[in-house]
């Protein structure tokens, strides 16, 4: 039991960060992390002992978030980020970089869920491509293509139409 606490506890701040980036609303995000921790405690002995605790926790959190977002989409209580009161956004904007934060959060919210999670896991949470593939239960090739699409779309959303269309190498990896 103390083993479990020792392995899980240091990861809680990062789990909160990922949950906040996915759900925007801080209260919802912490409730989600609590669900995740409760599930992790109850399934601690069922996890693969050769597996990595960090990817295991991210996978639990991610699956809970996805099912919650789907439920919300069904209930139709989705709130566009522009209408959200400032206080419920990820981080309260401060004087200087308030605009940037707002743009980033809005662009992130406009991404398809599958692209958003890849971008956040790789670039904010610092997971390797292989770990990200494991968390999301998708092939690495899919991680790479979603990552590229997520980045292009974010940049397009943030920088608007006045940016020249992105040039990509014509060569794509053929698997």
């Amino acid at each position: 039991m103390s083993d479990m606490i020792r392995l899980i506890e240091p990861l809680i701040p990062a789990l909160r960060r990922y949950a906040r980036a996915l759900l925007h609303n801080p209260t919802d995000a912490d409730d989600l992390v609590q669900d995740c921790l409760e599930r992790a405690i109850s399934r601690w002995h069922q996890r693969r002992t050769d597996g990595d605790v960090r990817t295991w926790l991210y996978a639990i959190l991610h699956n809970l978030a996805v099912s919650q977002m789907r439920q919300r989409a069904r209930r139709g209580s989705y709130m566009p980020v522009d209408d959200a009161p400032e206080a419920t956004l990820a981080v309260a904007p401060s004087q200087d970089d308030g605009l940037l934060q707002r743009d980033l959060t809005a662009a992130l919210a406009a991404l398809p869920e599958e692209q958003r999670s890849v971008l956040l896991l790789v670039s904010v949470e610092g997971l390797s491509y292989a770990e990200t593939a494991q968390v999301l239960a998708i092939p690495i090739g899919t991680v790479m293509s979603r990552l590229a699409r997520a980045r292009d779309r974010m940049i397009h959303l943030m920088d608007g139409e006045n940016v020249a269309p992105v040039k990509r190498p014509l060569l794509r990896r053929v698997k």
């Binding site: 039991m1 479990m4 606490i5 899980i8 506890e9 809680i12 701040p13 990062a14 909160r16 960060r17 906040r20 980036a21 912490d30 409730d31 992390v33 609590q34 921790l37 409760e38 405690i41 109850s42 990820a90 981080v91 970089d97 940037l100 934060q101 980033l104 959060t105 992130l108 971008l119 956040l120 790789v122 670039s123 904010v124 390797s128 491509y129 790479m144 990552l147 590229a148 980045r151 974010m154 940049i155 943030m158 920088d159 020249a164 992105v166 040039k167 990509r168 190498p169 060569l171 794509r172 990896r173």
Partner: protein, 257 residues
């Protein structure tokens, strides 16, 4: 030295600083000659920095009490119920107990002997007899193969009874699973298309068991055991006709073995 072509995956890994040194140098050389790709890569890098910057404060906030792991473990170990919930639980337990007592007759212990066989035969009849696609796996034309298959899996010599003198033509059969191991299923039909199913499997007890009638829904049947091999004949037809057939099967199998 020829350089492998730079791919989109290389660029993404370059942005994330996950390329090994040689490849990184190659990508850098490529970007030096391709300013527009280089601009895109720089923009992607900046995006990553911005994202990390926006969410970094969350990870250094004090963790709220609701996420205290030790408390969560403790709460799980001792689920404390408010008084009214405990009372409700007691009522439900009592109801459950009474319900169980009320059901004691209907939920009888698992069936054994030819009664169990009769039940298995009825279940298989209701699954396979109405099947239009593939009621049998081996057709009547392969009845020798069928007999060999059954004999091998039931670990004793099993014949395929001929009911043509009673107007029933063999359609074929298949091996099926029962809680008591494999069983051989044979299917017959008459010129109206009325189907009968016969199930055969070894019984736990050796010897004979007298024939008895059984019913389950619209299906009726007769089950018996002969020399340790159980038989159950099931059909939707009238029990009198089935009884005659069952007697005929028992007579022919007795002379065959």
């Amino acid at each position: 030295m020829t350089v492998r072509p730079i791919t989109e995956d290389d660029l993404q890994a370059f942005v994330d600083e996950r390329l090994e040194a040689t490849r990184r140098t190659e990508v850098e050389a490529y970007l030096a000659c391709h300013p527009d790709v280089s601009r895109r890569v720089e923009r992607m890098r900046a995006l990553g920095n911005d994202l990390r910057g926006v969410f970094a404060p969350v990870a250094v906030e004090p963790v709220p009490a609701q996420l205290n792991l030790a408390h969560l473990v403790e709460a799980r170990r001792r689920p404390r119920l408010p008084a009214w919930q405990a009372a409700a639980a007691a009522v439900l337990l009592a109801l459950g107990g009474l319900g169980g007592w009320g059901l004691r007759g209907t939920l009888s212990p698992p069936m054994i002997g030819v009664d169990a066989l009769a039940q298995e035969a009825s279940a298989n009849y209701s699954v396979y007899a109405p099947d239009h696609m593939r009621p049998v796996e081996l057709a009547a034309s392969e009845s020798d193969e069928l007999a060999r298959w059954f004999s091998a899996r039931l670990e004793r010599r099993v014949g395929v009874p001929d009911l043509s003198s009673s107007g029933y033509r063999l359609m074929g059969g298949r091996l099926v699973a029962t809680p008591h191991g494999p069983a051989g299923l044979l299917m017959y039909d008459d010129h109206h298309g009325t189907r009968l199913v016969m199930l055969m499997r070894p019984m736990a007890q050796p010897g004979d068991v007298p024939m008895r009638e059984h019913r389950s829904g619209s299906a009726a049947g007769y089950a018996w055991a002969q020399d340790g091999l159980g038989y159950s004949l099931v059909g939707a037809s009238d029990p009198v006709g089935l009884h005659t057939l069952a007697n005929e099967i028992r007579r022919t199998t007795a002379t065959n073995t």
